[in-house]
Symmetry: C2
Subunit: 268 residues, 2 copies
């Protein structure tokens, strides 16, 4: 009742295990609790698109029957996925696949807030697509996206304005293949977070991301785009975003003007 993905606990050897036995070579016994295996199976269904963002997944009892485990075990698996913001539980209604398209959690990954702390106070951001073209990956972009230098990528440049003032200048790079067909027009036409468009149009959900933050000075071009004087210190926010299966699917570099905004972070 170990290692084997879904070894049963009551019935006799159910998950038949086609040649997937606990190899005696394994240095680590690699004990994996049942609920972790269930979690992996759920993750797989998310990744495969069986359950799409904003849709409901089967109820806990149904999943318990499907995986041949108790409801409590499914619950623990779902609990963890909900804690990671991949699923959203709603009492009385069901469990839903998290999406970037929700009105309530718009810009889930954007931590820049106005000085008063209330993003609603300045209304929705204005967005301007400056550029969108297919190029070949430079070395650093290729490394970030686990591609080879020279592979086709999409490069997008855009500006976000809050309360009418340009505040964020962003360059982002997407792997060419999964995002085939993405154009400046489609980006400009879409109302709502870019990540929401990725979900509906390309079946790519950004599950988590990592950011590296530095303080920098803008070059002449950046000054003009952001309409700031030279020597205006800016936040450089470099992000790599990952899908369910932890494949990097976007590299992004933002320049944030922090005169009237700040980057918020909670430490636990």
């Amino acid at each position: 009742m170990n290692t084997t993905p879904l070894a049963s606990h009551e019935s006799a050897t159910p998950a038949a295990s086609d040649g997937e036995g606990p190899s005696p070579m394994a240095a680590t016994p690699a004990f994996s609790p049942l609920y972790q295996q269930i979690k992996a199976l759920i993750l797989q269904s998310l990744q495969s698109g069986e359950w799409k963002p904003s849709a409901a997944i089967p109820s806990e009892n149904v999943l318990a029957a499907r995986y041949k485990v108790s409801q409590g075990t499914v619950r623990k698996a779902v609990d963890e996925l909900a804690a990671e913001n991949l699923l959203v539980r709603r009492q009385g209604k069901g469990t839903f696949v998290a999406t970037h398209a929700e009105r309530t959690v718009q810009y889930r990954f954007l931590k820049l807030l106005p000085d008063n702390g209330d993003p609603k106070s300045e209304g929705p951001a204005q967005r301007r697509i400056v550029d969108c073209k297919r190029i070949r990956a430079t070395a650093d972009v290729a490394r970030a996206l686990s591609m080879r230098a020279g592979d086709p990528v999409l490069q997008v440049r855009r500006i976000l304005l809050f309360a009418g003032t340009p505040t964020i200048l962003e360059d982002l790079w997407l792997p060419g293949t999964p995002f085939k067909g993405l154009t400046a027009e489609r980006l400009a036409a879409y109302g709502g977070p870019m990540y929401a468009l990725f979900e509906t149009e390309f079946g790519v959900h950004m599950a988590r991301a990592e950011e590296k933050i530095r303080a920098v000075l803008p070059d002449a071009e950046q000054c003009e785009l952001l309409q700031v004087k030279p020597n205006t210190p800016l936040l450089s926010v470099e992000r790599i975003a990952y899908t369910y299966n932890d494949v990097p699917m976007e590299m992004r570099r933002g320049l944030y003007l922090t005169d009237t905004h700040y980057y918020r972070n909670a430490l636990n």
Copy 2:
């Protein structure tokens, strides 16, 4: 079996309600699960110093008996506290009160990493206390610490050096009363994180914090202390740290040199 803090659940008409019934006036019934109440009780014991940082708390079974609930309910309460990094579970050994003095998690709240990503590669930070004096709280410090302007506070200024180069210039303010007796000498003499000293010497544990990050340029004095040229962009990191009961106990402002380091943040 509601509202009442520890109403029994097995005896007849559990929430006996000694005049504490679900008042019909109440706009919200304010249903609070048992495990949340247990969590609050544990939190109270942490806050009161009954269980000190790095010490073990009673076993789950003992707590279950003490609070007259099942072990599973205690478990859920402890699970949440462990998720918040207030407790640390160690299988086979027990559950321990989290501390800032651990070798493994030193500088839990410091998110600045060297470019190579490995903090161990540059060895332990060098620390220099520049200044430590008692002053009267300015308006902004008072607001951050929920005090009145003019109340006594301790102001500390220090520099952190990584691999010999000054990288962080920090000013921090502490409420005068809880930190009575703190001097530059004691700070300088102590090896280990400042927050660890706060725990052992003043019984103050920083449970969580919030940071506001901006890009700024240093003034002349800051340039000299950090040994950088004017117009070097720096990260301004403003932190407010809170104790168990969410009382703000420190305000801190750091200037980070991000030439060879970056501020790391994970988004979920």
